[in-house]
């Protein structure tokens, strides 16, 4: 067995963790969403009067959004490598072997990172236009 085969064998061995890996993109969206919501709730209830300017809050959420987007991008890149589309050109993984399963999980995770990226961008849109708590 060559070294490369060996590496592949290891890579395709059963990945208990990889079903969770599928959720990394959406979890990042969820964390960003929940953090933005909680921060706004606390800020508007405890720190700012209804008509106050909330530029600082908007900047913080903006910074958080950038962090979240970068994290999703990194998860997406890792998933994209696992999918290995550039080498195999495969987009359907319909056969029941380890390689198909491995690439399928990469493919699905890549797509989920895409949706999470868009979802996170959407979350940030109100921050661009809304200037006060009411």
């Amino acid at each position: 067995m060559t070294r490369r085969e060996n590496v592949e064998r290891q890579e395709f061995a059963e990945e208990r963790a990889s079903l969770w890996k599928l959720t990394l993109g959406p979890v990042t969206w969820a964390v960003h969403f929940a953090a933005s919501y909680s921060l706004t709730a606390v800020w508007c209830a405890k720190l700012a009067a209804p008509q106050d300017d909330i530029t600082l809050l908007r900047l913080i959420i903006g910074a958080g959004t950038i962090v979240a987007l970068v994290v999703i991008l990194l998860f997406g890149l890792s998933a994209w490598r696992q999918w290995n589309y550039t080498q195999t050109g495969r987009a359907t993984h319909a056969f029941g072997d380890a390689e198909n399963r491995h690439e399928f999980l990469g493919h699905a995770a890549t797509l989920l990172c895409g949706v999470s990226f868009i979802g996170t961008l959407y979350t940030a849109i109100p921050v661009l236009v809304i200037g006060s708590c009411t």
């Binding site: 990889s18 709730a41 056969f95 380890a98 198909n100 797509l111 949706v115 979350t123 109100p126």
Partner: protein, 860 residues
């Protein structure tokens, strides 16, 4: 320690023999005599109880049938209620029903459709179909399914029956306080206790379905080839686990207020009705997708068969299911756009409401693409799917409109919303469900339904539905509010309401035709052919005579559509040339495989017919239903009896020590019969249940923080706080109990049964002392729960945690008995693993409670 464990795994639990099977192995013929004998033994093991004993059956095929017919019955009742409402609204100033009855009718219509039809129907259909999709013999915990069903039946009859006594809940299906908390009579209690009981059954079913999908797939069916339905079941099961617990936590607070006057939602004593709205909708919006996804999953099974080709974009549909599952949790506030939350918060939820359209849309495009590239046969199920797509798309478009907060402010609580939600639910649930019933009817009953009646039903329902609900958009825009029992005649709503009423009766006629066709006796009709639609997935391998065994042998699967893509698979299954072709010991068995790659791990013995599940459900029902009438002592006795029944059931039928360590599973593969720890289905069951339980606890903690943000003084100036020294002692005692539990598992594994017994004697004593100290820590300083929400919520956390520790003590005593009476040995120790896992969650709950009750208020 780890060394011993690994060593043990090698010796006793590793599969032995060749896997995967080679072509030659599968081609080897089986002696016809042997085959016949094997078939007889299997038939006997899986035989249904006869006569009146039939109701003690636990086979997924029977429980699934009862479950779906019961849910269908509740739907008909809730539908009749809607017709009564439509008659009332047909003309202005009508007095067909009183305002009070009308309130009960719309509350019960919504509650029953959601809690007694839509969610249970998903569970019912999945229990019925999932083993078929997976070529499995049964679900992993058949008695749990049966228990869930009987709980559902009892709870459903209780809730539905209340309307006959004029005692039904009448504050709307979302039970907003203060209307619902202050509502007179027992209506609100019926809703809270009856439906909590059913929610528990729902979570039980979700646990079963998740474990079934993860652990009971046929050998070789890796995650990338499992039927799409299984993906949806996994996602929806996960959603139930995170969506229902917040509602259960809310119900807990609500019932505490109703029964003991703890002011969680009473603003005069620091409470806040908004907390209920948050908890309700954190459940309520994912709920919509919990209803929608399983139905669209049926479409994902029907569409490839109609197109006679594999689905296009399998990965995209997985993305769609998982993505929708997540995003649907970011929508709840769009039901609360008019409650005065900060504009920025509304913006976040508006954005997520628009974003969820992306994954939802993707799966519909994948279906359309499959139909475009296939050779479509416009079968009856496909007709219903087509209707579903049309109606759902219309509902989705109004959804995009009302996700915009300013538009929602205009139409909030108007008939526009009624129209929108019925479009999404009919398109997203009712039509695909009926499509599924037509499609799977031959699988479920071995007969076919009438095509002619099916077309009649479709066109009646489709036109009737649109005539009813399309005008409602306009009725709503013209300003008619929901939930009014009548209206004046001069505001331009009359003719629109009359049209809606006429449409409702046309739709009802469609339902009647469908129900007649579904239930009419078909004894004389010939049997349906084996695979009538030429489907490609495993359920269509089912024989035309039901033997109760699911499949004759469990196949080795390497493709998404094995019946199309693996030549000769059905013949091989029939001849018993795959796994588990025999029941040598006359016991019910199914295969347990690994989560990702479905490698065979275990031959699991599953439970058979039993009465104890019925008793357990009846007593659980007593424990939930009696408090409605403030009858507490019999309720407690009933609860104790329920616990005894469950202990008896577990003791006599689970984790039985087998007569040998391994058995032949067919094709030369020898598998262990007993597994404990993370490889076992039971361990996964506990883990998944406790994930849901932890979510409910997290919702209570969310409540504490909510009160802190929502009110200017929480805790109020000069409040009495819990005694932190006593609370610290409680935490220490409970941690010691957890340590003793963990210790007993390790010691037992190392063959030190005597020390393990000592630990199991100490653990419950420490735990009881811990509960006592925890209660003292709030009782001694004199926190008065009825005086203000702050002491109430602290007491609430303590009560919640004590109840969990109490359950943990019962489990520890169970383990103690198991070690003493030899039900647990160093080799066979599943109960210790499962109870230790439970205690991991308990100790987390304890430590968070201690921190929040004793430390946090001093910081805030």
């Amino acid at each position: 320690m780890s060394k011993t464990r690994t060593h043990r795994i090698d010796r006793h639990t590793d599969p032995e023999g060749p896997y995967p099977p080679t072509e030659e192995m599968l081609a080897e013929p089986i002696d016809p005599e042997l085959r016949k004998a094997q078939g007889e033994r299997l038939k006997k093991a899986w035989a249904m109880p006869k006569g009146w004993r039939y109701i003690s059956a636990v086979n997924n095929s029977e429980v699934g049938k009862w479950y779906s017919l019961t849910a269908f019955g509740f739907m008909i009742l809730a539908g009749i209620m809607s017709l009564i409402m439509r008659v009332q609204l047909a003309v202005p100033e009508n007095d067909f029903v009183s305002a009070d009855l009308y309130n009960q009718l719309f509350t019960m219509h919504g509650s029953a459709m959601m809690f007694l039809f839509a969610v249970p129907m998903f569970e019912a259909i999945s229990i019925l179909l999932l083993p078929g999709f997976l070529g499995a013999r049964d679900m992993p915990f058949p008695r749990l399914s049966a228990y869930g069903y009987w709980a559902f039946l009892i709870g459903g009859i209780f809730v539905m029956g209340s309307i006959l006594f004029g005692a039904a809940p009448d504050s709307g299906w979302f039970m907003y306080p203060p209307l619902a908390t202050q509502s007179e009579g027992i209506g609100s209690d019926v809703w809270l206790l009856g439906l909590s009981f059913i929610e528990v059954a729902s979570i039980a079913a979700a646990v079963e379905l998740i474990v079934g999908t993860l652990k009971c797939r046929p050998p070789g069916m890796r995650v990338n080839v499992m039927p799409l339905y299984a993906w949806y079941v996994l996602v929806v099961g996960g959603m139930i686990l995170f969506a229902f617990p917040p509602l259960i936590a809310g119900d807990f607070l609500f019932e505490m207020e109703r029964s003991f006057d703890w002011p969680f939602f009473d603003p005069t004593r620091g409470g806040d009705p908004m907390l209920w709205q948050h908890l309700f909708w954190i459940f309520g919006h994912p709920e919509v997708y919990i209803i929608f996804l399983p139905s669209i999953a049926i479409a994902a099974m029907v569409v490839p068969t109609a197109a006679q080709r594999p689905i296009v974009g399998y990965s995209w549909i997985v993305l769609s299911a998982v993505g929708t599952g997540f995003l649907s949790f970011g929508l709840w506030v769009h039901h609360m756009f008019t409650t005065g939350l900060p504009a920025l918060s509304l913006g976040f939820f508006s954005a997520a409401s628009e974003a969820v359209v992306i994954p939802t849309g993707i799966q519909l495009f994948a279906f359309v693409a499959t139909l475009m590239v296939g050779r479509v046969k416009m079968s009856l199920p496909m007709l219903w799917i087509a209707g579903a797509l049309a109606i759902f798309t219309a509902g989705g478009l109004t959804g995009v409109m009302i996700a915009i907060a300013p538009f929602d402010w205009q139409v909030h609580d108007s008939y526009f919303i009624v129209a929108h939600l019925h479009y999404t639910l009919f398109g997203g649930m009712v039509f695909p469900l009926i499509a599924g019933i037509y499609y799977f009817y031959p699988f479920m009953t071995k007969k076919t339904m009438s095509v002619r009646l099916g077309r009649w039903a479709f066109w009646l329902l489709f036109t009737g539905f649109n005539i009813t609900f399309l005008p409602m958009h306009l009725t709503g825009l013209k300003g008619m509010p929901r939930r009014v029992f009548t209206y004046p005649g001069d505001v331009g709503w009359d003719w629109l309401n009359m049209i809606s009423t006429i449409g409702a009766f046309i739709a009802a006629a469609g339902f009647a035709v469908f129900a007649y066709d579904l239930l009419r006796p078909k004894g004389r009709q010939p049997k349906a052919p084996r695979n009538p639609w030429n489907g490609g997935t495993l359920e269509w391998s089912a024989e035309t005579t039901d033997h109760g065994w699911g499949s004759r042998s469990i196949p080795y699967v390497t493709t998404r559509y094995p019946l199309w893509q693996q030549k000769g698979i059905v013949e091989r299954m029939d001849e018993g040339r795959y796994y588990l072709p025999d029941a040598e010991e006359g016991l019910r068995e199914t295969l347990v495989t690994s989560v990702i790659d479905a490698k065979p791990l275990q031959v699991m013995r599953v439970t058979g017919p039993a009465w104890v599940t019925l008793w357990a459900a009846a007593f659980t029902g007593g424990a939930f239903i009696l408090p409605t009438f403030h009858i507490y002592v019999p309720a407690i006795i009933s609860g104790v009896l329920a616990i005894l029944c469950i202990c008896y059931w577990l003791w006599t039928s689970t984790a039985i020590i087998p007569e040998k360590t391994k058995k032949d599973a067919g094709l030369g593969l020898k598998l262990p019969i007993y597994i404990s720890g993370p490889g076992a289905a039971g361990w996964w069951g506990v883990f998944i249940t406790m994930l849901g339980d932890a979510t409910a606890f997290a919702s209570l903690i969310f409540g504490v923080f909510f009160y802190w943000t929502a009110s200017p003084d929480f805790p109020p100036e000069g409040s009495i706080h819990a005694n932190w020294i006593v609370m610290a002692a409680a935490a220490a005692l409970l941690t010691a109990s957890w340590g003793a539990m963990l210790g007993s598992r390790q010691l037992n594994m190392n063959g030190r049964g005597d020390l393990a017994t000592a630990c199991l004697v100490a653990a419950p004593l420490l735990a009881l002392a811990g509960i006592g100290a925890m209660i003292l820590s709030v009782w001694l300083p004199g926190l008065e729960p009825t005086s203000h929400v702050y002491p109430a919520v602290m007491w609430g956390l303590v009560v919640w945690t004590s109840a969990h520790v109490g359950a943990g003590v019962i489990m520890q005593l169970y383990c103690l008995a198991a070690v003493i009476f030899g039900k647990v040995t160093p080799r066979y120790d599943a109960p210790l693993w499962n109870v230790t896992l439970f205690w991991h969650f308990v100790i987390l709950t304890v430590l968070v409670t201690a921190a929040v009750v004793a430390a946090l208020p001093r910081v805030l």
